[in-house]
């Protein structure tokens, strides 16, 4: 069973603005019945003010597809066309309080329909650049196409590099075999281990695939005072909590012992099969925040203090 937020459920069980908008002067249609989801977005735009006065949708799809469509209409009514165009699929997902990684494509469909509808209003042709492939990394929602692109363009040769460039495989690690298969296939196609030409900015839509921050070299890391360091750790954990709480769990900082940071997972997290992934996520976040390598460990592993 998916872990849908209350907001997603609200928009699924009682969708806003569903149905046909007879007075529409802009229609965007994306998806197909083959893909399993399709959306028709109908807008009524005031030609003088460019304000979207009304929006309605019809959606074929799962719970989160319907909720994303409903949320989208609520978000754009009252906005001008240009204001609406700024919206991304992330905005839709955030409006809904988050979507499971496997369901992020539902928000993408909403954003695409919006662009298609506005293009239709302006009389432009809209080019679809959304590629669908087999979803490889479920934790970060990375599909085969994205990994292939990253590997080809950057001449990646190892699983580790793929993780740095796409985040794929960086959490629960269950997809490592699949990533290696994609990697092998691409390398076989491009002439084995010969590294491809360095990526020239702007040649491919790689903006979405920025490398993760390189592993900080110890010397280069800014030296934090103990208090600053503790605050940075507390701040980073505080930032992660809402996301973990959404899954019914929680995380608390227990102790900092040099490079070892002890946390306690509670609520739904304790005993959850994903808790190792959650721990790893916390660790990644802390490494990023501190610019140094730290290990996140469960509080149960804390060495007993003498006296």
């Amino acid at each position: 069973m998916w872990n849908y937020t209350d907001k997603v459920k609200e928009h699924f069980f009682n969708p806003k603005n569903s149905g046909v908008l007879e007075t529409a002067n802009a229609v965007g249609e994306v998806g197909s019945i083959t893909c399993g989801d399709a959306l028709r977005l109908m807008l009524k735009v005031d030609p003088d003010t460019q304000i979207i006065q009304d929006a309605k949708f019809q959606t074929f799809g799962c719970g989160s597809a319907i909720a994303s469509s409903s949320a989208l209409t609520e978000m754009i009514i009252g906005k001008t066309v240009d204001e609406a165009l700024v919206l991304t699929n992330r905005d839709i997902a955030e409006y809904l309080g988050g979507l499971p990684p496997e369901k992020m494509h539902c928000s993408v469909m909403g954003a695409e329909a919006l662009r298609a509808a506005i293009a239709n209003y302006k009389g432009e042709e809209w080019v679809d650049d959304h590629e669908e492939g087999e979803l490889i990394c479920k934790c970060f929602g990375v599909d085969a196409a994205m990994i292939e692109r990253a590997v080809t363009v950057n001449g990646l040769t190892s699983l580790e590099e793929v993780t740095h460039y796409t985040k794929a495989g960086g959490s629960c690690q269950t997809c490592h075999e699949k990533i290696e298969e994609v990697l092998e296939a691409v390398m076989a196609k491009t002439g084995a281990l010969k590294p491809a030409a360095k990526h020239t900015p702007g040649t491919v839509g790689l903006d979405a695939i920025k490398p993760l921050p390189a592993k900080p070299e110890p010397a280069a890391a800014p030296k934090l005072t103990n208090v600053q360091r503790m605050q940075a750790i507390m701040g980073a954990i505080e930032e992660m909590r809402p996301q973990i709480q959404r899954d019914g769990g929680d995380v608390e900082l227990v102790d900092i012992d040099g490079k070892d940071i002890y946390v306690r997972l509670t609520g739904a997290c304790s005993g959850c099969s994903q808790s190792a992934g959650t721990m790893m996520g916390v660790q990644m976040k802390l490494v990023e925040a501190l610019g140094e390598f730290v290990r996140v460990k469960p509080a149960s592993l804390m060495p007993a203090h003498a006296g």
């Binding site: 994306v30 019945i33 399993g36 799962c62 597809a65 319907i66 695409e112 679809d128």
Partner: protein
């Protein structure tokens, strides 16, 4: 469109018994002493162990009786259907290393399909995946053509988990024997619903899973006909006559034994009362809902299973609304599994995408009551109508599909 406000039966309506079943209270009662009282290791040389050993042999006899096997030693307890399937196939290809082909079907469970994919990719096996027609029946001509003396093992399921369609296992097994291939069947869905007499059958190996027949999860069995070459998958201690190492999961084994005994006594009921409930549910839905149809072969299927494809709407949305009404069902839609494609079974049968995404499975059990069926019959039409009112593929007023073909997909 509103959904009639019917009282939801307290405990919910569980129609997902092909996914898993409730442990029968009588099964649990048999198991409980094994945790605290008869906790010994059956391999141990003392009374604590001996008491458990006797229980395990009792359980083996119950499974033997359910399968109609000639000898109780033909039953190996495993951790479940997946382990049984993997053991069967890996054992035979190791025992017959010169035979480099495997025959299976396109609608098998992933426990077989994913293993075959792996053997094809990494160990160079030639895999024959026999197609099915639009009613889910196996293409017998293709099957015959695939059989040869190069085939080490045939692995074909007895009944399909999604549609309930039953394959002619005895006929298929005899054809396999004729070319000298070992015949294995994944009978996880069939055991307890179809009477079996493996002693008189050409079936060499059979997988079953406890939690599909009111035993707990994590226990299953593999039937291996006496005299068949066998290579264990798990090596270690001498348990299960050295065919499956590891200390016996005694409570679960006894649970499976008790469940097998109950399944045998309830087999008639499954094929009469439960079947009648299934038929009533199906006919009522087909009569009340336009643009839907039964998938698989309705004449030749499990008595408890009904899979209806509702066109132009998506399965996960159906399940969420059913769940609001306390009804648990299952779907072959892409979105329920997190994959991007609808179930391989629906695609193999050539069910159009317009319907495959809306395929919904109701699977009953001997726990199902008439009142529960009434409740489902009362709410399903409203749920389907509500979702169709949102669908761009459905012409609201005319209650029929309409043209919708986005340029961008």
């Amino acid at each position: 469109m509103t959904i009639p406000n019917v009282t939801v039966p307290n405990r919910g309506v569980y129609l997902d018994n092909n996914a898993t079943t409730r442990v029968d209270p009588d099964v649990l009662a048999e198991m409980l002493p094994l945790f605290t009282e008869h906790f010994g290791n059956p391999s141990s040389m003392h009374a604590f162990g001996a008491a458990v050993g006797g229980k395990i042999e009792w359980a083996r006899k119950q499974v033997q009786a359910l399968l109609g096997a000639a000898h109780d030693s033909e039953i190996i307890f495993t951790s479940g259907g997946t382990e049984s399937d993997n053991t069967a196939i890996l054992s035979i290809i190791e025992a017959y290393p010169k035979k480099r082909e495997i025959v299976t079907s396109v609608v098998e469970h992933p426990a077989v399909l994913a293993l075959c994919d792996y053997l094809e990719k990494k160990r160079d096996y030639k895999i024959h995946r026999i197609p099915v027609d639009n009613r889910g029946d196996l293409d017998i001509d293709a099957y015959r053509a695939a059989l040869s003396d190069q085939v080490a093992i045939v692995s074909i399921m007895w009944a399909n988990n999604e549609t309930g369609t039953i394959f002619p296992i005895e006929e298929l097994a005899q054809m396999a024997k004729a070319v000298g291939a070992v015949f294995h069947t994944d009978a996880v869905q069939a055991v307890g619903k179809i009477p079996m007499k493996l002693a008189d059958s050409a079936v060499d190996m059979l997988s079953l899973s406890g939690h599909k027949l009111h035993a707990p999860k994590g226990i299953g069995a593999l039937y291996v006909k006496r005299g068949l070459r066998f290579r264990p998958m798990l090596r270690g201690g001498h348990q299960e006559r050295s065919r499956r190492a590891g200390t016996e999961n005694a409570p679960a084994i006894v649970g499976l034994g008790a469940a097998a005994h109950l399944a045998l006594t309830h087999m008639g009921e499954e094929n009469t009362r439960v079947k009648a409930q299934r038929d009533r549910l199906e006919q009522a839905i087909l009569a009340a809902v336009p643009a839907c149809f039964v998938t698989g072969n309705p004449e030749h299927r499990l008595p408890n299973t009904c899979n209806i494809a509702f066109e132009f709407i998506e399965g996960e949305a159906i399940l969420l609304l059913l769940n609001e009404q306390g009804i648990a069902a299952s779907s072959g839609s892409a979105c329920t599994s997190g994959s991007l494609e609808p179930s391989h079974v629906m695609r193999a049968m050539g069910v159009p995408y317009t319907a495959a995404h809306g395929a919904t499975r109701f699977s009953l059990s001997r726990d199902t009551t008439d009142a529960e069926i009434d409740h489902v019959i009362a709410v399903v039409p409203g749920i389907i109508a509500k979702l169709r009112s949102l669908s761009p593929y459905w012409e609201q007023g005319a209650a029929k599909p309409k043209e919708f073909a986005p340029v961008y997909s």
